[in-house]
Amino acid sequence: MGMLKNCLLIMTRHCVFFAAISLVALSMNGAYAERLVDNMQVHGFVSQAYIATSDNNFWGETSRSDNFGFKELGVNISAQPTSDFHLAAQMLVRHAGNLDDGEVRLDYVLADYSIASSQSRSLGVRLGRILHPLGLYNETRDIAFTRPGILLPQSIYFDRTRDLAFSSNGIQLHGEHRAHTNEIFWQIGSALPIVDSPELELALLANDWPGSFEPDRSYLGRVFWENNGGRFKLGLSYAYVDMVYEPGFMDPLTHGHVTFIPTVFSLQYNEEKWSATSEYALRKFEYKSLGAIPNQSFTGESWYVQSTYRVLPTWEVFARYDNLFTDKDDRDGEAYAAVTSMPAYSRYAHDMTFGVKKVFAPYFMVRAEYHRVNGTAWLSTLDNQPPLVPVRQWNMFSLLASYRF
């Protein structure tokens, strides 16, 4: 009954959006010629997850009966009016427990101009709201079809600070160089990060303070070397994301800075039936002149290894081991626990995941996965409010159906 009510509520809330998608999907149906004429494309996706957890909550009250708290729906449009120009925008509606309430948002809207392009190299510039080039998966983190599981490895692709990590408004230079079987891809940019998520203060300042964050000038860059058409990929990403805290009324905090400086090393090897992926990240946080919060700096450490095997063309299985240490100088969280009287296990998370994917058609797939997690470091505070006390050792089972066009 609750599920039905839930579904109806979502349907009503998004019926305009559904209608828009249906219209677009209908008009695109078999219209190859039309697409050629105006050189415009429309794509989209809809995903719904079922999540059940043993103790703690992830994307909704999943330890009780609210198992359908995660759903998302996106539509993008792109056009290439000339071969030098590329324009694109994507709208997204996302429900994720208490983290995301289903507000329509703009993921990206950008113009890309190709400065130079030849068989051996290319150089271009992008302007607008651009997705962050961070690791292998950041830019496509919302598209179930491109993720290596229902959840991305949470140690690096935190869902609790998704907006901050996802996109920002700015400018980006990008290039490609090809020689024999080697290719180099790079992006470098400057931007103002997006800092209006309600979870951000909780995640970074452990409390909802009277003031708020404002974006400050930030820098991002990534370089990838790929061999033999992407058989082997090796990448390095770096970002310097700066936020200013503007104090509110009667605020114990003062005007100061919180800076997030992640460095991600990425590695992937692809075979026809088998792929292996690993990423290692150092995530540095700096707190400066915030008043009640003393100046400090600590570095978190994250890494995962994943192996995916394509049993049949439409069946895929994977295993992943994912690790997060909030402070690499206090891996077991004991020093933090001694000072704050918060549990030590809130400072780490070790997640062993097994999953399976079935592709029913190129546009429809279903995934199932099981997580055995030790630690609660990547759990959202908003989804795990008192009186719930997060439990150290917990399990999660999830199903996800996803459709795209």
Partner: protein
Amino acid sequence: MVSSKRDGYTSKAIAVDRRNARSFLSSGLNGRIMFVVVFLFLIFVDIDNSYAGKSSVVVIANNMVAEKSLTLGAVRSIFGMRLRSWADGKPVRVFVFNDHHPLHIEFSKKILGVFPHQLRWSWDRLVFSGTGQAPIYVKNEEQMLAYVENTPGAIGYITRSQGHGHAKELPVNND
């Protein structure tokens, strides 16, 4: 056909996966270290072994396209939807069959030396990150030929024995 050499690596990899899944559960840290070591070893195996080779598939292009041949790097970038214009600045139009079409699988492996799942991942990445567009899908070889013949800047692939009508064949240099 899949080479027996590759099969060897694949089954080795699965065996390694299974073994490590077990040791994760039983021996904790040792298992994890072992997994990392094996992972690092496997990525250095077979890196430079291209599967590009002789095949019954040929790359075809619209007659107006000035290029007489393409390098492997260029053909990979074109079908990877990353090279958007020909040398004369005219836009490239890419036509493909769907992911599970036998000719697409052969084209990907033999001409591009890339697996269909990698192409799919790159296309999805471009389409959903706003950095590129998807290729245009055709249903059969007649449709492929008709589109390539009639669309300026078009490129596609077809069985060699089909002939290429008014389209032209573009040889790929494996240098």
